[in-house]
């Protein structure tokens, strides 16, 4: 589904990612962990096509296509979804309107008709129940006046409605209390399928208590210092990031 080859990325001339290789297959859940400043969020943003990042070397293949050549909205329409670490507010635009506009943009891209209003509403209401969200959420302006936890849940709601092929979750667990974390994890688990892949970007191991990853990669100083199975996350929890940073330094 996604193949990253030797990806180098700079921001304002400063190298942040220094040669990332990653292969994500449909149905897999990969966790990207690492200390602050290791380049986790940069990786998530570059994959989604955020402006301001310069790819200095490397290729990214998504479903056989050159991802980096695609516009951000094209990536989204092809099924790449980014759950933001800091979701923005859009005053005056209701959640349900955004969801409908987004879903229809994606459907149109695939040559499908716009969804009938009644069907759409029914689908969306189902998803709000899945995430234990009040229906009133749908009619509030996008993230305006939402608590941190509500914003994160709203991201997952959007993911549930848009049903992406590859979902990248950028520190979705940060700022969540344990109950909210469980609900979010439950929402993500409900979406796991053989056709869908996830990349969970996280600082902490605790999200992985609820979502069991197939692979765990530890990022340090802009490259993957170590990869392993779910056990690696537990080891990190015990030993801390200092351990992998040393590995990375030794490798460099």
């Amino acid at each position: 589904m996604l193949r990253i080859e030797n990806l180098h990325v700079s921001v304002e001339g400063k190298p942040i990612l220094k040669g990332i290789d990653l292969n994500v297959k449909a149905g897999e859940v990969h966790a990207i962990m690492g200390p602050n400043g290791s380049g986790k969020s940069t990786l998530a943003h570059v994959l989604a096509g955020r402006p301001g990042y310069e790819v200095t070397a490397g290729r990214v293949w998504y479903q056989g296509k050159d991802l980096l050549a695609m516009a951000p909205e094209e990536r989204a329409r092809e099924g790449l979804f980014l759950a933001f670490q800091y979701p923005v507010e859009i005053p005056g635009v209701s959640n349900i309107y955004l969801l409908k506009a987004a879903l229809n943009a994606i459907r149109k891209h695939h040559g499908l008709n716009e969804l009938d209003a009644m069907d759409f509403l029914a689908t969306v209401k189902d998803k709000t129940r899945l995430l234990d969200m009040d229906e009133q959420f749908l009619y509030r302006a996008v993230n305006e006046g939402f608590s941190g936890g509500e914003k994160k849940r709203n991201e997952i709601l959007q993911m549930a409605v848009l049903e992406p092929k590859l979902a990248i979750l950028d520190e979705t667990d940060s700022g969540l209390d344990i109950d909210a974390l469980k609900i979010v994890a439950q929402g993500i688990n409900a979406l796991r399928s053989e056709k869908r892949a996830f990349i969970l970007v996280t600082h902490y191991q605790r999200l992985l208590n609820y979502i069991k990853p197939d692979r765990v990669h530890v990022l340090a100083h802009g490259s993957i210092a170590k990869s392993g199975d779910a056990g690696l996350a537990l080891e990190l929890e015990k030993q801390g990031y200092g351990w992998v940073e040393q590995l990375a330094d030794a490798g460099a």
Binding site: A48, G49, P51, G52, E73, V93, L98, A101, A117
Partner: protein, 482 residues
């Protein structure tokens, strides 16, 4: 990142689509203004004596006045002798009795503007009075309205057919001594619309006027007078466009609204006069005086405006809240781009007890444009328990435009309550990227964010015209689901 900002400006900077010129034979006065011009104008319109006297009184007063300079706009002095004060399609001289008699090319013009006059006669829904250059060319639905007792006609017709009503109300809200441009209008206004809703009548349909300036070097001076008697209701919309011309054209209109006891007037404007080109050349000077008088108890006047055009906009639709418990509202979206200048807002004058007013102003600025809100809230001594709520929000696109707010508040009654809120924001890169990441194009993203910003005003527009506003802003309106 700057690439994003550029695309944004391109999106906002959509081409002016109403800039065509119609080739219609016209009768017109040579440029110039003196008492003779006014006498000739009055004669051509076969006006009664009182109208001519009124015009001449206004003209003499105008000669003593100077063009106002206090607004936050700048333009070279206007040569009032270089303007032609009358231009009319030739066929009009014989007085078309129905749409069939209208110049087909004229009808084609309105079709291009998206006003299917002929169709509207069949479809029923909106009655349209269309003012082309100086004269009113067609009023649809006259008969159906007449059944309800509603008078909706051109101002010229009203002067002929209902001179007593015109005499009773003309100039009672905006007197002929008011301000420089209103006074000029009083002297030379050539046509406009007249609406009279008698006691207890709820106007059975939305009324609408479209104004278009076609001829070169012509000023447009139309006058609208709307009277709602006790318990009467009316909703009225005006739309405006003009061809693209290199020279500036002057539009100095006057609108007077009068609401008697428990009457309600809703006046909506979608203004899309030619704004000038990207370098700021050409465009309409829109210097308009609009004022409503809530004369009766519990009367209500509501102004909704969507302003996208004009090189310079100078207008402050206001309400004089005279009747006890009367209500004034002002909802405005003003979009300025390139070198457009807008100094617009409202005046709410509280005179009666328990009067209340609401002001919601949304200014959107892009390019090198300057967008100013100027508002006056005045609570007079007798206005016990008067209330005002004002909210002014500005949205900036790019870093070369400006937004300014000039609120004036005068309170002479201690029980009054006046609130003012203001905010300034920008469309952020984060918002745009977020929308794109959800699959929306940049264009749709901007449209959605701008629509969200304007939502409180758009929801005040009559349903029929919400689509109009959408077309004019070049952005799509937010639909509602469920």
């Amino acid at each position: 990142m700057s690439a994003n900002a550029q695309t944004l400006e391109q999106l906002i900077g959509h081409e002016y689509k109403q800039g065509f010129v119609t080739d219609v034979e016209t009768d017109f006065f040579p440029p110039g203004l003196n008492e003779g011009t006014i006498r000739a104008l009055s004669a051509i319109k076969k006006e009664p004596e009182f109208m001519l006297e009124w015009r001449l009184a206004a003209y003499r007063h105008w000669l003593t006045m100077k063009s106002p300079e206090w607004a936050h706009v700048s333009f070279p002095p206007i040569d009032y002798q270089a303007i032609s004060y009358y231009s009319a399609p030739k066929t009009q001289a014989d007085g078309p009795k129905s749409l069939d008699e209208l110049d087909p090319e004229l009808l084609e013009t309105y079709k291009k503007l998206g006003i299917p006059l002929a169709e509207q006669e069949r479809l029923a829904g909106v009655a349209v009075d269309a003012v082309f250059d100086s004269v009113s060319v067609a009023t649809t639905f006259k008969e159906k309205l007449a059944e309800a007792g509603v008078i909706f006609c051109s101002f010229s017709d009203a002067v002929q057919e209902h001179p007593d009503l015109v005499r009773q109300y003309l100039g009672t809200v905006v007197p002929y001594t008011d301000n420089f441009f209103a006074v000029l209008n009083s002297a030379v206004f050539s046509d406009g619309s007249f609406v009279f809703i008698p006691k207890g009548v709820r106007c059975p349909m939305e009324l609408s006027t479209y104004f278009r300036i076609n001829a070169a070097n012509t000023g447009q001076f139309e006058r609208t007078l709307i009277i709602a008697e006790d318990d009467a209701h009316v909703s009225y919309l005006e739309g405006c466009t003009a061809p693209m011309r290199d020279e500036n054209q002057l539009h100095a209109a006057v609108v007077e609204l009068i609401a008697l006891d428990r009457a309600e007037i809703k006046y909506s404007t979608v203004q899309n006069w030619y704004p000038g080109d990207k370098e700021g050349k050409g465009g309409i000077y829109n210097f308009v005086t609009k004022r409503g008088a809530c004369r009766g108890v519990r009367s209500k006047i509501s102004w909704t405006q969507v302003e996208t055009g004009s090189a310079i906009t100078w207008k402050y639709p206001g309400c004089i809240l005279q009747g006890d418990h009367s209500v004034g509202e002002f909802y405005s979206v003003a979009v300025t781009n390139n070198y457009q200048q807008a100094d617009t807002g409202t005046k709410m004058i509280h005179i009666g007890k328990n009067t209340s007013s609401t002001i919601i102003s949304k200014g959107i600025s892009a390019g090198h444009a300057q967008n100013s809100y100027r508002g006056l809230v005045k609570i007079l001594k007798g206005a016990e328990n008067a209330r005002n709520y004002t909210q002014c929000d500005s949205l900036l696109i790019g870093d070369r435009c400006g937004a300014h707010t000039f609120p004036y508040v005068v309170v002479k009654q201690p029980t009054a309550r006046v609130e003012h809120e203001a905010s300034t924001s920008k469309i952020s890169e984060d918002q745009l990227f977020f929308c794109q990441q959800r699959g929306l194009s940049m264009e749709d993203a901007v449209s959605m964010i701008v629509n969200g910003f304007c939502k409180e005003v758009f929801k005040e527009l009559p349903m029929e015209f919400a689509v109009e506003a959408q077309a004019l802003l070049g952005i799509s309106l937010e639909g509602s689901v469920g």
